[in-house]
Symmetry: C2
Subunit: 214 residues, 2 copies
């Protein structure tokens, strides 16, 4: 009778199952896009009957939304390294490393996000206007402060941020093209290291900073 009591049940099993569905959905949405993905495909990849999907996620759109939101929050959290830095060189280098690692670890999620924005952000428009806009403004001020203190070359902070986003996400979003140009094989550990080094070298040098020595 007590409404406060939380019956543990197999809550564990539930969360795990939801996570498995979200993971399968992330892959399918990344490969086929929202319109091309089908609940049946996601169900097959999660090894569940289709009706079970609708038990945990009432509609295709609600499932999609949760996939996108999950990625968005991973993205935001990675951006924390920007703040905990002591200066522009360390901050931007750490941000590049973090975002490159995300591109490597969550290629499907990155593609879902890119696809969503590409098609006009019909589902997460509110996030762009609130959370992302706030975050962007904050980092622009940090960069501008660094410039004002003479710690880096004066550049437009907004376009510097765009360049950081574009370049790092490119390795996830266009991974298929990159792999094809790499002879059809995925990037090796050394390839990724070289990619990160190259990106940091050009961008940091580009804003008057010393790239970290390997």
């Amino acid at each position: 009778m007590n409404v406060e009591t939380k019956p543990p049940r197999q809550k564990e099993g539930r969360k795990a199952r939801e996570a498995r569905i979200l993971l399968a959905a992330e892959k399918v949405f990344a490969e086929a896009g929202f319109g091309g993905a089908t609940m049946q495909l996601i169900a097959d990849m999660a090894d569940l009957p289709k009706a079970s999907l609708h038990y945990y996620f009432p509609t295709k759109e609600s499932l999609y939304r949760q996939v996108v939101e999950k990625i968005f929050h991973i993205w935001l959290r990675a951006a924390d390294v920007f703040d905990s830095a002591s200066g522009p060189a360390e901050g931007i280098a750490a941000y590049i490393d973090a975002k490159m690692e995300l591109s490597r670890a969550y290629p499907a999620g990155s593609k879902v996000w890119a696809s969503e924005v590409l098609h006009g952000a019909p589902v997460i428009q509110d996030y762009l206007e609130t959370t992302l806009a706030d975050w962007t403004e904050g980092r622009m001020k940090v960069i501008q402060a660094w410039i004002d203190e003479g710690r880096m070359t004066p550049v437009n902070p907004r376009h510097l941020l765009y360049m950081l986003w574009a370049t790092t996400q490119h390795y996830a979003d266009f991974s298929h093209q990159i792999e094809t140009l790499n002879g059809g094989t995925p990037l090796s550990e050394a390839d990724w290291a070289e990619a990160k080094r190259s990106v940091k070298q050009i961008i940091l040098t580009g804003i008057g900073l010393e790239p970290p020595q390997p």
Copy 2:
């Protein structure tokens, strides 16, 4: 009877109509993706009955393929400025300008291309392996030659190219996000000029070259 005779007919009308369909399809595919686009939507935007679409383009996929191929060739042609340059500074600056102008002039086409690659290039995989691979290898050699001649800082030519692609296409592919962060309004003429200037400044400085003075 003569097979050689080319009846002019309203050939003009036919090509024009095909072009109108391709333009409508480009927009719809860009907004909804291949899976989300419907022949009915494209027909409505082209102001034609759906059955007429199937007269000019037998299947949805053939229409999509032509849209993608059209963009690809525009992209390749823009890359010519790379060759006609006398040196790295002019060549790369001209390439950045050209690709930024393409992002501005053909945002829908760029999005279709990005969406195609994003989802594993199911339709234009052969182009990636042949034409694009050849083009990339050629430009890498040009850049390497500039480096060997001491005309620019040694950087990995492959990752420099990726950065050029990523940054310039970002302004088309993520235009919705950029507009949202721009207060919900499209970039002005001045905004585009500032974007091009910023990109050239950071990248050219990043590889040891002098950015062009405005």
